[in-house]
Symmetry: C2
Subunit: 206 residues, 2 copies
DNA sequence: CACAATCGTGACGCTTTGTCACAAACACTC
DNA sequence: GAGTGTTTGTGACAAAGCGTCACGATTGTG
């Protein structure tokens, strides 16, 4: 067992993953640290240093093989397998997430879409049927789900979070504005585009 | 004119902003560095240090006044005003973004929704009419827009990015998987939930 | 073979962050 | 109004992380 990566390194590896995935899709077979640097705004030397910690993946004078490097990074992050996630909320945002191809590319499967609204239960989103919230516990157990995504209005977000935790979720992606109260062994990632935007604006104006 | 903040400080201030906004909505009039720390996983001492760089906003023995601190931070980030953004893509994701209350709370107005599809042009999303992409340049000039949000499939994302740049956009939020090529004075933020999820998974499994 | 490109890596200094410690200010109770 | 507990503001210092320069090693190309 290798030591645990620091937050910074893991974050940068994730960025590399993102760039490499896209590069592969665009048919690029090789990529240099310089090119990755342009897309990520991360220093090229830093990139090489990050990668060389885990092995010699590149060829001098040539660069890295896109495919191979992608696999290496996934291995480092130990996320090569298939992961099932549960999505709560079958509204506009939920539908958008469920039908996005972005997850499948990274080995993540939206294994269930759930909603409280009886009218939505049973309807189809992509090739998934919307399940009732009452089935959450069973579904989570059956499909080995530890990641939940919350795509409901802020008013019911805490309730959904409680139920996800009750069903065994350990990682929650929160797309509502609500601040969630969860046990300390559960990890919440709240995404707030508005705040990210203000952050970006600051650097633009400076 | 104060000096420019470092990336780290600005990022943390943004997190505080997020927490404070929610705290205010929940009717909390005062908040302590300790409480902010619990929601952000940022050290309480660090929080106090960050804030004290810009003034003495808190009261010893009491904490910070939510309202006042919120305003202070917005002032530090120089983002108190009203900001107009253009949203391209009137599909599921676009609609979800356009009708989210999350932006209004932070002084950000979705000033225009645009789409290529003639069938969508003219239809309403919330209280906005969808405009044609052809009107982008005019709209951007009239409403002083420098921020564009891309909510279209990856295949047309680069095209949209080019047109946004042509219309004067300096900050682009990209919700597609595509890697975008833009001039160096334009700032691209690509959001990839799948990669963020792998990142979170790594720390869970470790 | 000469040359250009690119990786891998040592070295070093700067910046940022984490942490302990503690005085000053405030609220509350009795 | 004295005493107690809470919380901020801040100094000091150690640890970690990052940026950068430099340079040899390796590979592809003409």
């Amino acid at each position: 067992m290798t030591e645990r990566l620091t937050v910074g390194v893991a974050a940068r590896l994730s960025r590399y993953l993102q760039v490499l995935t896209q590069a592969r899709k665009m048919g690029k077979e090789r990529i240099s640290s310089q090119e990755i640097a342009e897309y990520t705004n991360i220093n090229a030397t830093q990139i090489r240093r990050d990668l060389s910690t885990f092995g010699r993946f590149g060829k001098r004078g040539v660069g890295y093989r896109t495919d191979a490097l992608l696999e290496e990074i996934r291995q480092i992050l130990r996320t090569q397998g298939q992961h099932n996630i549960a999505l709560v909320g079958a509204g506009r945002l939920g539908s958008a997430i469920a039908s996005s191809p972005i997850f499948a590319e990274h080995g993540i499967t939206v294994a269930a879409v759930l909603d409280n609204d009886p009218e939505k239960v049973g309807s189809r989103i992509g090739d998934l049927a919307v399940s009732s919230m009452d089935d959450l516990v069973d579904i989570a157990r059956e499909r080995n789900i530890i990641v939940g995504v919350i795509a409901v209005p802020a008013s019911s977000a805490q309730d959904v979070a409680d139920r996800l935790v009750g069903a065994g979720a350990k990682i929650i992606f929160n797309y509502s504005e609500a601040l969630l109260d969860v046990p300390s062994d559960v990890n919440v990632h709240t995404s707030n585009p508005a705040v990210d935007l203000l952050y970006a604006l600051y650097f633009h104006l400076a």
